[in-house]
């Protein structure tokens, strides 16, 4: 059975439902096996007895090269943003692009400005800020934009609005919409606790 994203927890007696997303689009998951799924997605190595399916492929059956190819199609935004503490927001956002495709960097700068304007309400100096000086929303936004620049087919975002005030939560609620406007056939998965 094919799925954009599927996870079957191991049969170890604990009651957890499986995650199975058949079609692209926007999904919100509140799964008991969230941490397991995230850990499996992180390096595409599900724990023993579990099954992870991505874009119709059973990850366990893939070799290293195929897993690497698959990882390029997935981006992940952890709840705390997962930013590098020694880099400012711009360096964090542009890190994957600068590392994997430096020639795209000038275009990325323009794109980042556009995306920041779309969300509004962020500090003028955000791009120069180090993560320790950023709010939770700013960290999440920077990590989200970093993920968008990679143009993933599947974007998994952990706890989109958790810990944010009402205004920032409304802004964060637009993450899925903006992603789908950029990637109409893509899948946005919001993982809640």
């Amino acid at each position: 059975m094919s799925a954009v994203l599927g996870y079957e927890p191991p049969h170890d007696g604990a009651a957890r439902e499986r995650v199975w997303l058949d079609a692209p689009g926007r999904h919100r998951l509140s799964s008991a096996c969230k941490d397991e799924l995230l850990a499996a997605l992180y390096d595409l190595r599900p724990r023993a007895g579990a099954r992870l399916v991505l874009f119709g492929a059973d990850v366990a059956a893939l070799d290293q090269a195929e897993r690497s190819a698959l990882m390029r199609r997935v981006s992940f935004v952890p709840a705390n943003g997962g930013l590098m503490s020694s880099l400012n927001a711009w360096e964090n956002i542009s890190l994957p692009v600068a590392y994997h495709a430096a020639h795209k960097l000038p275009g990325a700068a323009h794109e980042v400005r556009g995306l920041l304007e779309q969300f509004g309400g962020v500090d003028e100096d955000l791009l120069a800020k180090l993560p320790e000086h950023m709010t939770l929303y700013e960290r999440r936004l920077a990590a989200y934009i970093r993920a968008l620049l990679e143009d993933p087919e599947l974007l998994v975002m952990e706890c989109v609005g958790a810990g944010l005030g009402p205004i920032k939560r409304r802004r964060a609620a637009r993450f899925a919409e903006v992603y789908q406007a950029r990637r109409p056939g893509g899948t946005f998965v919001q993982l809640d606790a």
């Binding site: 992180y42 390096d43 992940f76 997962g82 503490s85 590392y99």
Partner: protein, 258 residues
């Protein structure tokens, strides 16, 4: 014993990785890390060296001339032997261990514990390429530059200060210097300091990347282990070098067979 073997093996692996993957320095983010490392280890450490270096040079000349009652030629010869071959590279190495060794081990341990390394892997960035390669190359280059700086300050500053303090003509010291100085000593100390810098870096990186535990307490422990082992490794390398190049180690207690 097994732990020591593992640590040595891990550090050796990091060194080989840095040599094999030196090409990643072409990537802009890695090049920026290299520049940061050179600035921190090399450029920002020079201030503390000036006084120490000049005092050591002055002390050697003053001691030889005033206490041992020897001539300026012997004083300069000792200055060159001690500073160029041994003290210069060692002072630079100790300074790098004290400043950068602790900083690198602490920084990497914090990154590991806070999940930054996992985040890098998720972006398909190898943490060894992004963090270890620029640190090893940066610290090797910076240590060599610092050694040169120490030697310059200790020899030059020592001769200038000695000519003022103990009334030995500067011209005379300079003449002896140009007569006695050998480029080989400089090359020897440069090769040694590059190896010292790389050794300090791989030990610090190894302990930073492998903190013993996930709590914040593991961070200072990683730094302490890095400093202790880096000092031991530098001393050991110094002995091996002295034995290989001059046939003498442990202050003459061990000599090569003729």
């Amino acid at each position: 014993m097994l732990a020591v073997y593992r640590e040595l093996e891990g550090s050796a692996y990091l060194l080989m990785h840095a040599i094999r993957r030196i090409g990643v320095l072409r990537l802009p983010p890695v090049a920026e890390e290299l520049v940061r490392q050179i600035y921190f280890t090399g450029a920002s450490a020079t201030g503390g060296i000036v006084l120490r270096g000049a005092f050591i040079g002055t002390l050697i000349i003053a001691y030889v001339i005033e206490v041992l009652d020897a001539d300026a030629s012997l004083a300069v010869r000792l200055l060159l032997l001690v500073v160029l071959r041994e003290v210069g590279p060692l002072i630079a190495a100790v300074l790098v261990i004290q400043r950068s060794g602790t900083a690198v081990a602490t920084d990497l341990a914090l990154r590991e514990i806070s999940g930054e390394l996992a985040s890098l892997r998720r972006m398909r960035i190898d943490p060894y390429d992004y963090l270890v390669v620029p640190r090893v190359i940066g610290m090797a280059v910076s240590n060599a530059a610092l050694t040169l700086y120490v030697q310059l300050i200790a020899v030059g500053g020592g001769m200038v200060l000695a000519s003022i303090v103990i009334n030995v003509p500067f011209q005379e010291l300079l003449t002896h210097f140009f007569f006695l100085a050998s480029p080989l000593d400089l090359v020897y100390s440069l090769i040694k300091s590059v190896l010292f810098g790389a050794a300090i870096a791989v030990v610090a990186c190894y302990h930073g990347l492998h903190p013993r535990g996930r709590s914040i307490n593991a961070v200072p422990q990683a730094a302490i282990r890095a400093v202790t082992e880096a000092l031991l490794l530098v001393m050991l390398l110094n002995v091996v070098f002295a034995y290989l190049v001059y046939g003498v180690a442990f202050f003459g207690l061990v000599t090569a067979q003729q």
